[in-house]
């Protein structure tokens, strides 16, 4: 599904990614761990098509070269990034944002746009699965939401848009145990043999709930080590110091 070959990324004349290789197949859950500044968030940003990075190398998503696609086209083709810091957008109603987003993705896929009533029914159902109070949906997007509410809202968007590849950038940060479980349940219930996940995290604790097939350790902009789920537990004990 996703194939990254020799990816380099620079921002403000600083090399962040230095020849990263990664393959993700449908049905797989990959976790990326690594110390601060190792390039985890840069990888997420580059995959989402954020401006400002100079990149080299190949990123293929289902045979399409991602370098040719704008951010919105990537999203329409099924790449979803759950932001580490979801943005507060004053004046934009959450419901209207969600419907605009869903319809933009549907339209790009050649599907019919969804009408307001059907949408409201759908979103109500998805929100209740994640324990999101309906009232949040009529508020301004993320404005005044707590950290946990913002992260839940990201997972709600994921479940609504039904991406093929979901990238979760430190979705566990700022979550209490209950919220963490709800978010993990949200991910687990969406997981199937046709979609895949790339989970960026500092801690093993999210991986206790969402079991990864592979764990990669990122160091100096490269994958320094790859292992199975047990690698996370090992790292929890030994730290990143021995990996380079």
């Amino acid at each position: 599904m996703l194939s990254i070959q020799n990816l380099e990324a620079r921002i403000d004349n600083k090399n962040i990614l230095n020849g990263l290789n990664l393959n993700i197949n449908p049905g797989e859950v990959h976790a990326i761990m690594g110390p601060n500044g190792s390039g985890k968030s840069t990888l997420a940003n580059v995959l989402s098509g954020k401006n400002g990075y100079e990149t080299k190398g190949l990123i293929k998503f289902n045979e399409t070269d991602l370098n040719d696609l704008s951010t919105e086209e990537r999203a329409q083709k099924g790449i979803f990034l759950a932001f580490q810091y979801p943005l507060e957008i004053p004046g934009v109603n959450t419901n209207i944002f969600l419907r605009t987003s869903l319809n933009a993705v549907r339209k790009a896929k050649g599907e019919k746009e969804i009408d307001t009533l059907t949408f409201l029914k759908l979103i109500k159902e998805k929100a209740s699965e994640l324990g999101i109070d309906e009232k949040f949906l009529s508020r301004q997007l993320n404005v005044g939401f707590s950290g946990g509410e913002k992260k839940k809202n990201e997972i709600l968007q994921m479940k609504l848009l039904q991406p093929k590849l979901s990238i979760l950038d430190e979705t566990d940060s700022g979550l209490d145990i209950d919220a963490l479980r709800i978010v993990a349940d949200g991910v687990n219930s969406y997981k199937n043999k046709d979609n895949a996940f790339l989970i960026i995290t500092h801690y093993q604790r999210l991986l206790d709930y969402i079991k990864p097939d592979f764990i990669h350790v990122l160091s100096n902009g490269k994958i320094a080590k790859t292992g199975g789920a047990e690698l996370g537990i090992e790292l929890e004990k030994t730290g990143y110091a021995n990996i380079s």
């Binding site: 989402s48 704008s70 999203a75 932001f83 004053p90 934009v92 301004q140």
Partner: protein, 414 residues
């Protein structure tokens, strides 16, 4: 400089000799000053004399043109209305109200003279005013529905000035939501110079909304003087995008304690539109509150101006005054000028002001795009969110919905 105006009192029919003399005196005073220019502090960023001289050949005053129109009613929500044609009261309809509780009467020149000799547009208005209304709401009466003032203008209005005077009185504990609605698509230049006197008595609430239906090549100036008594509230919402030129000059006198005023403005200016909001909030008594949030989005060669002054008298302790101006400048040729001023003589007050200008937040844009929303649409969402946020406090859902729809239309350039 060429003379681009020619005003004559004698064009106004049926004046008593006394009125005629008075008007002539005001006109002489106006001619001594001419239209305001940038040398005057209040017109520092809006050189009206120069703007008008570039855009008009010869502005004249006329007697009523009275080219009667069929009103194009707003049908999004039920409302009462007043119909003004060229500033003159034509009819009113208070279908939803107790007729004994509201009076709307025609313009009365003598009752409506305001003297501010430093304001030459006031002088001109006193010389040439020909229409308007006096609206009074009885004690304890709260209108069931909003009242829309439909402002229409005759077809043959090119190079003409209209001067009118209105007066609005809300007696104790009364409530009114007023919508000043300009429905004009003129591509011809004309000018409107209005003066409005507003009295909001104890515990009364006035909401004053400014909106127009479409683009208009008119040059609008409105001077509002308002006086608030104890515990009264005056809310303003300004959405006048699309007018070629507009200056709202609002003076609010918080004369008794616990009076409260708010001004929310949301303008999306395009092409060569030039709009100014000028406010003067006088905290004349203690425990009063004033709040101003002014938002501008500027494209093309447009110009936005905000001059906001908060004046706090020595006796006005426990004043709570807030003023914020935010502008998004989307084009290098667009301009925004802000001049916030605080003049405070009391020592126990909370006053704050801020002014920011910048461009669209790229991280926010990226966030919306990352959800599949095309860039153009994401851009518009951010702009309408930025401006629409000023309507958060408006509790009438149907009116708010209507205004948001209009705002969206303005952003789409309709």
């Amino acid at each position: 400089m060429k003379q681009f105006y020619d005003f004559k009192v004698e064009k106004i029919k049926d004046l008593s000799p006394e009125d005629k003399n008075l008007r002539e005196e005001y006109l002489d005073l106006f001619y001594k000053n001419g239209f305001p220019n940038k040398k005057e502090e209040d017109w520092k960023f809006t050189d009206l004399n120069s703007i008008l001289s570039k855009n008009f050949d010869n502005i004249t005053n006329k007697d009523f043109l009275l080219d009667n129109k069929k009103l194009n009613f707003i049908n999004e929500f039920e409302h009462n209305h007043i119909y003004l044609l060229d500033g003159k009261l034509i009819s009113s309809d208070l279908t939803y109200e107790d007729r004994n509780k509201i009076s709307i009467i025609d313009f009365n020149y003598k009752n409506n003279i305001t003297i501010d000799k430093n304001n030459s547009l006031n002088l001109l208005n006193n010389a040439l005013a020909m229409g308007g209304f006096t609206l009074e709401v009885s004690k304890n009466y709260k209108l069931n529905k909003p009242l829309i003032i439909y402002n229409y203008f005759s077809k043959d209005i090119k190079e003409t000035i209209i001067n009118n005077k209105n007066s609005i009185i809300l007696n104790d504990n009364s409530e009114l939501t007023l919508i000043n609605y300009i429905d004009n698509k003129s591509k011809d230049n004309f000018m409107v110079n209005s003066m409005e006197n507003i009295e909001i008595r104890r515990d009364a609430l006035l909401k004053n909304i400014f909106i127009n239906n479409s683009k208009s090549a008119g040059y609008f100036y409105k001077y509002i003087k308002s006086d608030l008594e104890k515990n009264s509230v005056f809310e303003n919402y300004i959405l006048s995008s699309g007018l070629k030129f507009n200056k709202l000059d609002i003076e609010i006198n918080l004369n008794q304690e616990y009076a409260k005023s708010t001004i929310f403005s949301a303008l999306n200016l395009l092409e060569s539109e030039h709009q100014e909001i000028k406010t003067r909030i006088n905290h004349n008594s203690q425990n009063c509150q004033s709040y101003q949030k002014i938002k501008n989005v500027l494209s093309d060669q447009s110009k936005g101006v905000y001059q906001g002054k908060i004046f706090v008298k020595k006796i006005a302790q426990k004043t709570d005054a807030y003023q914020l101006s935010k502008a998004l400048i989307l084009n290098d040729d667009a301009e925004f000028d802000a001049k916030p001023e605080l003049e405070i003589y009391a020592d126990d007050v909370k006053c704050s002001h801020g002014s920011t200008s910048g461009s669209i937040d790229l991280d926010s844009l990226h966030y919306l795009k990352s959800r599949g929303i095309p860039e153009k649409e994401a851009y518009k969402m951010l702009i309408s969110g930025f401006l629409g946020e000023t309507l958060e406090k408006l509790i009438e859902e149907n009116v708010k919905f209507f205004l948001l729809k209009k705002l969206e239309g303005q952003i789409n350039g309709n």
